[in-house]
Amino acid sequence: MNWSDALIQMQYNLGAPQELSWLVQGITYFVGAFILANAALVLALVLIWITRKVISRIQDRIGPNRLGPFGLFQTIADAMKLLSKEDINPTSADTISYQIAPVLSVVGVIMALAVIPFGAGLIGADLNVGVLYLVALGSIGIMAALMAGWGSNNKYALLAGFRVVAQLLSYEIPMVLAMLAPVLLVNTMRMQELAQAQSLFIGPINLGIGWFVFLLPGAFLIYFISALAEGEQTPFDLLEAESELVAGFHIEYSGMKFAMFFLAQFLNSFFLGAIAVALFLGGWQGPFAGQIPLLGPIYFMAKTFFIYVVIQWIKGTFPRMRVDQMMQFAWKVLVPLVLTLILVQMVVMKLPLPGWINSLLVLVANIGVFIAVLNIMGSYFRREMVRTKRSFEPKSLIGTMQPVNTSSGD
């Protein structure tokens, strides 16, 4: 049973008159949206805590451990600090764009919650264009970045705004095409049906591990890399490269307005992980999730938090890419590979062969793309490592050097 139907039924049972069905429905959806949006804000506190803890451990530190159990309340203290800071408005800023941009960036991210399937029947609105809706939301974030960059009336903010928009637009293409792969398999854009299709029945028992990542590893890898760029996470976090740039398009923002951009970024990387879970990692499917409905949301959240921790792991270990490298990687590696992948999948699925041969061919193509992406990335990083080491060597030795042993680990 759907949560909204259950809530509507409950209100009628409490004595709501049938004539006011519009009010009852309105209350239902308002309650749903209210809970989801506020849960997202509470979630952000946990996400920031996880980031700080994971990165601290990678850097051989302990991380926040003073306030509350395991330092859990540290983020609340930080939020209070941000709230109490002075709200500075630059005199020559464009008031409308400057004030709306932080709100818009959070709105665009939180709207994604509406179509994320947390469990069987536990989805805000099971739109028949759910996947496309998620893609369209990205454009709100782009508008927010442009408005913030231009509205601040600061040339660095404007340049950073351009850079971020170029990044988001470029990586949107491989991301959308990779999201198309599971949609093509199931022939639907409904998030709930996509989650349901990832079951694995042995007889009547649903093992719940027919995840698309086992069939489409290449599409998953490309989605994950593009999601890192869309969420402005390392190695694509040129937005807030503290050690190299002043800051991103939010340079002129202070206090809570800056915190809004911060919040949007954390929530965005979490929701991109949730979309990855819904599309590729089985959604709420898992062993016995069909028998015990309560397990569904637990599986979903566990998988999403796992993806989030992996993102933080990458954040703690990867070097940052230059902007030209980032663009080249999107347009010269990811886009051609994902186009090939989708084309192969479309052709294979129309071949008059038994179903399992079709699946096998799709799997082979995906493994090929998977290996190709990893190979290109690996050789690139090796080349960069040699180049960086050479740049530290004395000029007089250039040309006499042997290739650097890359396995030394430093």
Partner: protein, 177 residues
């Protein structure tokens, strides 16, 4: 079920209320496009108007077209317009005014267009809404099928046009040496 103690006044339906909000957004956005003194504000008004149009589609239960509207017009076209404005009009060095002295001519032409459109729309015998599509699934599949069967030539020509535009952009942006 308990009786209400008073008769309810005839309320507008929820759909009508929502429509008024969306229509206001569209109209205010469109007016901002024309009347804003700052070109960037005009672009933002255009984005608001695009969102309003998407809202109208969604009220008419054409979610696919509504979401595509946001994706294409807000995501791509208005970003393109904003970039073009920012890079060509010297927006980094102060506001530029889009005003000129052609407002009288423009008013006459637009009001004539409006009258013609109104006359046309009043003359059409609008068909009653047919039976609702079952769960909205068929609309995307049907659209795709129509593209590759009935409308294959316009579809391919559009693809060709996009390819030409892409090649042209590369030629224009290429280093001249």
């Amino acid at each position: 079920m308990p009786e209400l103690p008073f008769p309810l006044p005839p309320l507008p339906t929820v759909q009508q209320v929502v429509f008024v909000g969306i229509a206001l957004l569209t109209v205010v956005g469109s007016l901002a496009v024309v009347l804003a003194r700052n070109l960037f504000h005009s672009a933002l008004g255009l984005v608001a108007a695009f969102f309003g149009a998407a809202g109208v589609y969604i009220i008419a239960e054409a979610e696919f077209i509504g979401v595509s509207q946001v994706l294409v017009y807000v995501g791509a076209i208005s970003t393109l317009i904003t970039f073009a404005i920012m890079l060509t009009r010297g927006m980094m060095f102060g506001a530029t005014s889009p005003r000129n002295r052609q407002s009288g001519t423009a008013a006459i032409i637009t009001s004539l267009t409006f009258i013609v459109l109104m006359a046309l729309m009043n003359g059409i015998n609008w068909p009653e809404a047919s039976e609702p599509i079952v769960d909205g699934q068929a609309i995307i599949a049907g659209l795709g099928r129509a593209f590759v069967t009935e409308y294959i030539i316009p579809f391919e020509l559009l693809a060709l046009l996009l390819l030409v535009a892409l090649a042209g952009a590369i030629v224009l942006a290429k280093d001249r040496n």
